[in-house]
Amino acid sequence: MNMTVLKSETARAMPAPAVSADVVKLKAPKTSFIKTKLVPRVSEISANVLPPLVTIALIMVVWQMLCSKPGSTLPPPTVIWDQAKDLIMEPFFVAGPQDIGLGWRVLTSLQRVAIGYGLAGLIGIALGTIIGQSVWAMRGLDPIFQVLRTISPLAWLPISLAAFRDSQPSAIFVIFITSVWPIIINTAVGIRNIPQDYRNVALVLRLNHYEFFTKIMIPSAAPYIFTGLRIGIGLSWLAIVAAEMLTGGVGIGFFIWDAWNSSRLPDIIVALAYIGGIGFLLDRLVALVAHFVTRGTASN
């Protein structure tokens, strides 16, 4: 009994390797590609993407249940889909001078942000570099910046309107003045924190001021500068929506204000989703640039 079992097992086992060896030889490249590259990649992506999708689905269900009751003040997802389908599905339609897709409005807002934030980046890094090199400038200006940076974008707007007497430059100024402080402060800290070792290397090599600035100062302070830039882009996006609500025009902020005035709640909610999405993308964009520019610097 035992013997036969053993025999039959060996008998079965014997040819098996030969067959599998044959199969492996032929299909080796494909199997290994799928197994070593594709499967881990797919499972990695799904591990990152599935949880948020499930969460969103759950929120939608709860939201639907809460807002479907008669007398509820906010529309449920199904109503939003019914009434604002065009806004969701077609970001770039043009049906009239004031009836355009949210994509266009976002682009207008982004244009303003690009100018205001671009200026804030340039001026913030330049000022921060100068301030960071002087102990006294740092001591004298830092407390003032710390106070100024807490002022809300909306609070700057009246002054800005009074000074520029036009909505477009006012909105840009508000973005600039909101986002410039963290860029100045972080750049200055980065410049102050350049290790003495790097300064010594520059001294031994007799780098001139320009070489020291481009080869030591900026790369060494880059992680700090990008921290400032990343905070700054978030604040810019906060500021633009607030500024446009009051200055009017074509941007996404004004769209919300307009929708509120004509009681189109579903439109507002779609616009909120756009704002959140774009803000997230902007943040990721700066983080990505930072990752490539400062690679190697942060880890040491």
């Binding site: 070792d197 790097y198 010594n200 290397v201 001294l203 031994v204 090599l205 007799r206 780098l207 070489e211 080869k215 030591i216 790369p219 060494s220 880059a222 400062t294 690679r295 190697g296 610097t297 880890s299 040491n300």
Partner: protein, 272 residues
């Protein structure tokens, strides 16, 4: 090796150094005089905190000297410059540059007028090969080991073709095996190029193995030169042969006596 030619290659001449910290003055170095001949390998040994780095930084020009002077080829040097290249204790490579770029930066700066672009590339690679780091030229400092970083630091310093090579405890942070390996490399390079070297160390074996002369410093504050010891061992030296070498053993004994009998570290004294 007679120290008393009237015009030595490098002369640290009656240097005093006082630091003020929070209004309190501390004299760190008191009347330090050292002469170094061309091609000589001189070590400075002393307990931690006695002022070795301060002395090296003064020679490098990184720390100003209020009294006394540093003379190189009979000319006073007070600013830092590539003629006195430093290998820092913590390697000091720029982390955003690759190994190659770190050395190339120095080469570009020092030879901008005298070498063509092609020659500068070749010179960079030559110095990387000299320390056996050519294979890692495209790596960043964060991607290589401590010993390799120190090698690149040495390559960067050598690439400046300095008149004096200044080494501040270059092997201090390395494990024993890596350290031995690197010491052998430095010895081989010194043998080949004949550089003038001033090295700081607190390791007795390292000092005896590598140096022509050992300058022993007393404890701070106000550290002085306590004793200067010649190491008359022929080069090239082999680590293994020296283990039983009578001269080696005697030199070692002299330094250990100085450091641990006559000028014990303050911490060791307190422990008794």
């Amino acid at each position: 090796m007679a120290p008393a030619t009237s015009h030595p290659y490098l002369r640290i001449d009656h240097v005093d150094k006082t630091f003020s910290r929070g209004g309190k003055l501390t004299e760190v170095l008191s009347d330090v005089t050292v002469s170094i001949e061309k091609g000589e390998y001189v070590s400075i040994i002393g307990h931690s905190g006695c002022g070795k780095s301060t002395l090296l930084n003064i020679v490098a020009g990184l720390t100003p000297v209020p009294t006394g002077a540093v003379l190189l080829e009979n000319r006073e040097v007070s600013d830092p410059g590539p003629d006195r290249a430093v290998v820092f204790q913590n390697h000091s490579l720029l982390p955003w540059l690759t190994v190659y770029e770190n050395v190339r930066l120095a080469v570009d700066k020092v030879f901008s007028a005298t070498k063509s672009r092609k020659e500068r590339h070749a010179w960079t690679m030559h110095n990387l090969e000299l320390v056996q780091m050519g294979h890692a030229k495209d790596k960043r400092p964060a991607e290589i080991s401590g010993g390799m970083k120190q090698r690149v630091g040495i390559a960067r310093a050598l690439a400046m073709e300095p008149k004096v090579l200044l080494l501040d405890e270059p092997f201090g942070a390395l494990d024993a095996l890596t350290r031995a390996h690197l010491q052998d490399s430095v010895m081989a390079i010194h043998q080949k190029l004949g550089n003038t070297v001033l090295m700081i160390t607190h390791d007795v074996d390292e000092a005896v193995l590598l140096s022509d002369r050992i300058v022993m410093m007393t404890n701070g504050p106000a550290a002085r030169i306590g004793e200067v010891l010649e190491v008359p061992i022929a080069r090239p030296r082999k680590r293994l042969d020296l283990v039983a070498d009578q001269t080696y053993i005697k030199c070692r004994q002299r330094v250990i006596e100085f450091l641990y009998a006559r000028h014990k570290a303050p911490a060791l004294q307190a422990a008794e």
